[in-house]
């Protein structure tokens, strides 16, 4: 009975968090562009009821801009972590099922990718693709798959050594059959949890790279761009434009992180006990 209660609690909490995230996301998407056009009359106002996060130097409402920016960041984050997770699955399975040579080559390649600081690699990729959204997406996707790939490789290697897989092989089942019937069912939870845990990293990286000026064009209200603009006015005492959007970002990241943990607990109660 207690067991059920704890589990139900976690499920309800998880659903609640998902709803918040979806609400922030869709609200951000639905804000029309002209809602964040400001006037100089209302520039540099501290937080008030009319503008909960205050306004920026151009008089734009920072609350709406932040929400809009969050939606943009979440879109980029979702897309990038999905691409990353898919790469990880393919690379991980290839390393585990391929020949020794393939495995060594993949491991070496992962070493190479991890051997360059992520920020530098994202800057490079963004430069290679002519900056903008495409460079940002590819850059973040290309730098986040490594550890998940290693995890999946280890998982597949472990599964392959299981008795029932050996029996299937003896019975003459093909590699593809084993993959679909024995490996994938175990990998799907790994994949989902891995994907969700990648997501906060992707958002944080997106914000960082946009902050440096490599991501989205300055017209886009991405969270990194809002914060980078705020830096220019930091000496004038406009604390709200730096603190509040950043705080929102941190809260969303924490929420997603917790969501990933909870999902792991729901899917695999044993692994989640520290």
């Amino acid at each position: 009975m207690r067991n059920l209660n704890r589990r139900t609690q976690v499920v309800i909490l998880t659903a609640f968090m998902t709803i918040i995230l979806i609400a922030v996301f869709s609200f951000g998407l639905l804000i029309p562009d002209d809602a964040v056009v400001g006037s100089f009359l209302s520039a540099k106002q501290p937080p008030s009821l009319a503008h909960p996060f205050g306004t920026d130097a151009l008089g734009r409402d920072l609350f709406l801009r932040t929400l809009k920016g969050m939606a943009v960041s979440m879109t980029v984050g979702t897309a990038a972590s999905m691409i990353s997770a898919v790469i990880a699955v393919f690379v991980g399975i290839a390393a585990a099922t391929g020949s020794k040579c393939v495995d060594a080559l993949i491991n070496w390649f992962i070493d190479v990718v991890m051997g360059v600081p992520h920020t530098i690699l994202v800057i490079l990729i963004s430069f290679a693709l002519g900056r903008g959204l495409k460079g940002l997406l590819v850059g973040i996707a290309a730098t986040h798959w490594c550890s998940l790939a290693r995890l999946i490789r280890g998982e597949v290697l472990q599964l392959r050594s299981q008795q029932y897989v050996a029996v299937s092989r003896k019975l003459g089942k093909s590699g593809g059959w084993i993959l679909v019937h024995h490996l994938l069912p175990h990998l799907v939870p790994q994949f989902v949890v891995g994907l969700i845990l990648l997501f906060p990293h992707a958002i944080l990286h997106e914000a960082s790279v946009s902050f440096l000026g490599f991501g989205l064009p300055p017209e886009q209200p991405a969270i990194g761009i809002i914060l980078s603009e705020s830096m220019r006015y930091i000496q004038t005492g406009m604390w709200w434009s730096a603190v509040l959007p950043g705080l929102t970002l941190v809260l969303i990241v924490l929420l997603v992180d917790k969501l990933g943990d909870n999902l792991r607990m729901i899917m695999d109660p044993y692994s989640a006990q520290d």
Binding site: R2, N3, R6, R7, P269, Y270, Q273
Partner: protein, 311 residues
């Protein structure tokens, strides 16, 4: 040899259980030691014998108060007539009560053996340690080695040396001899004997019955976390008729020199213990009474037995 009035250690009705988490979040209590009794007098070596899983090593942890946090202890533990509270255990361990643990895993892998034998107390007993190492046949360079560089026998001797270095009145040695050569084992046991002759006491935990009745004064036979019989070591030499409990008799018959007859059945697992006598399911003499209630401890011919029919 026995001085009835003065005991070093007195244990009765001791039970130890562990709180476990089943299926992630469900909580159950697992009883691993139940209604255990044991009395140790100064000047004697008492063997605690039993197969693995009979709770021998846990008894050592319970006496020293080093059971894991999820363990609960009930019953009476007395050291020199005084109750062994957690506080007293903390005072006594390492000074009055010493443990000789089972394996090399009980040595810090990154600390040299000499420093580990010396321990943390000042002043360091370095000279005494050197002479004990010598007696145990540990070469001089041993003190400079790391535990992983020791052979099994060397590790056991180093562990024995830690207890010999203290002025403990009670030494609990958990399987101290496996891995040693015959001479080394005999030397170690001789040193325990000397301690006992000095008025100290030694509890020798072992699954080796031969060793138990050759070198000790009394033998306590453990089964499924309880004491089924305590007998003089000489009773074991006399044969099954001198023993009081069917399990002790079966163990005697299982020895190679006595016919090598295996004991049928299995020791019950903690968590699936029978209601009455713990040995009843395997006992050839069991009656309805045995299945119903745990038999009380009775004194027979200078030994104690937990059986309705022991004679």
């Amino acid at each position: 040899m026995k001085q009835k009035d003065e005991t070093i250690l007195e244990i009765h009705d001791l039970s130890v259980s562990f709180r476990m988490y089943d299926h992630g979040l469900e909580q159950t209590d697992l009883q691993v030691i139940s209604d255990l009794y044991l009395t140790v007098y100064p000047g004697e070596i008492v063997a605690v014998a039993g197969s693995s899983g009979s709770g021998k090593s846990l008894l050592a942890s319970a006496i020293l108060g080093i059971l894991p946090g999820n363990a609960t202890v009930h019953g009476h533990l007395h050291y020199k007539g005084q109750e062994l509270t957690q506080e007293r255990q903390e005072q006594l361990r390492g000074t009055d009560i010493a443990l000789v643990p089972q394996s090399v895993a009980f040595l810090d892998p990154l600390m040299k053996v000499g420093a580990q034998a010396d321990g943390h107390r000042k002043p360091l007993p370095t000279d005494k340690r050197k002479s004990i190492f010598k007696r145990l046949g540990l070469p001089d360079k041993t003190e400079q080695l790391y535990p992983f560089q020791l052979s099994g026998g060397m590790a056991r001797r180093a562990l024995v040396s830690t207890a010999l270095l203290t002025d403990a009145k009670l030494v609990i040695a958990d399987e101290p001899t496996p891995g040693m050569s015959l001479e080394q084992a005999l030397e170690a046991l001789r040193m325990f004997r000397e301690m006992a002759d000095d008025g100290k006491a030694v509890i020798l935990i072992t699954h080796d019955l031969d060793l138990a009745f050759e070198f000790t004064d009394r033998v306590a036979v453990f089964y499924a976390g309880t004491t089924v019989e305590t007998a003089l070591a000489s009773d074991f030499k006399k044969g099954p008729d001198a023993l009081r409990h069917p399990y002790s008799q079966a163990l005697w018959r299982a020895l190679p020199q006595n016919g090598f007859q295996p004991v049928c059945g299995f020791q019950p697992y903690a968590g699936a213990l029978p209601k009455g006598c713990l040995y009843a399911p395997r006992c050839p003499y069991k009656t309805a009474q045995c299945m119903d209630a745990v038999p009380p401890v009775r004194e027979i011919r200078g030994g104690e037995v937990r059986c309705y029919y022991g004679a």
